[in-house]
Amino acid sequence: MFAAICCPVIYNFAVRPYIFRYGGLPVTAILTLVGGVAMTLALFTAGPPLGEALDLDLIGWACVLALALPGGAFMHMLWAWAQTRALPSQLVITVGLNPIVAMLLGAAVLAEPLTQRLFGGIALVVAGIVLTNLETGRRSAARTAATRPDGA
């Protein structure tokens, strides 16, 4: 699991120079497409043929499209835009919203129970996000600009 979390950390730092140099949309488009093709090739070579794992009905394909476009392309675009505006540590703390939004959606859509721990967790995560961005303002934004990999 630790090896897994190192992947986005490496990605977030290493991709910054290219996003500043070429723009968020072109870089995200190239990386997403190349990554998808590479993943497809990996599945073909390492596992069973792709076709055996695809038995989607119409609703299933609708879900895949929703996962690919707003839930994939747009999500990665937003992250790329965010990377040009704030430092990685200011952005990555928002992953704290991950389980919380999932649980809230689970409650809304799948009628899963909401717990007091969840609300305590929400308060702490929001406090963390506010705390890490307390110094945003001119100083932080100036620092973001100063650490732009292209030096612009």
Binding site: M1, I5, C7, V9, Y11, F13, Y18, L25, P26, V27, A29, I30, T32, L33, V34, G36, V37, A38, M39, L43, L54, D55, L56, D57, I59, V64, A66, L67, A68, L69, G72, M75, H76, A82, Q83, R85, A86, L87, P88, S89, Q90, L91, V92, I93, V95, G96, L97, N98, I100, L105, G120, L124, A127, G128, T132, N133, E135, A141, A145, T147
Partner: protein, 168 residues
């Protein structure tokens, strides 16, 4: 129209990131609907190929693809493999050896690793408020997920604590 001030620019970056993360969480619910008809890695491949193809079409229509040097192509290929192949595969392998709740807890150390790596490579300085914020937000994730980790080994928290110290 007024140009965004530096403060609002940084804040908008955090807002974009929060929206991106929230959309990512929303996909979990959609994934549950269709996961029985496929498997997580095939679903990831489909998402990335379709999403990447649409984004690339938009780039072709509105911009022009950047002219990359051979070195840049190699680096971006490596990044694409790290983020879109290694990350989902490692995540899928990890949850075979632990519970989803515990995996979520380890994932909560992501901001801490980011802060440390950022300081080590000189992109940003270690600042007390950021370190405190990482622990506060991490505690929030731990609290939210705490009801999901109790079904593992009774002393598994020791392993998690050791893992956390290792991350530090």
């Amino acid at each position: 129209m007024n140009e965004a001030t530096p403060a609002s620019r940084a804040d908008s970056g955090v807002a974009f990131a929060a929206l991106s993360t929230s959309i990512g969480d929303g996909t979990i619910v959609l994934t549950r609907y269709c996961i029985e008809q496929t498997d997580p890695l095939t679903l990831s491949a489909l998402r990335y190929v379709i999403g990447g193809a649409v984004l690339t079409a938009v780039v072709f229509a509105r911009y022009r693809l950047p002219r990359l040097s051979r070195q840049e192509r190699s680096i971006l290929l490596a990044l694409a493999v790290i983020m879109y192949v290694a990350f989902p595969i490692l995540g899928a392998v990890a949850v075979e050896y632990t519970t989803a709740g515990r995996a979520g807890l380890v994932y909560a150390t992501n901001p801490l690793v980011t802060v440390i790596v950022g300081a080590l490579i000189g992109v940003e300085r270690l600042r007390p408020n950021r370190i405190l914020a990482v622990f506060v937000a991490g505690s929030g994730m731990a609290l939210a997920l705490s009801h999901k980790v109790g079904d593992a080994l009774p002393d598994a928290w020791i392993g998690d604590a050791l893992m956390f110290v290792t991350v530090l």
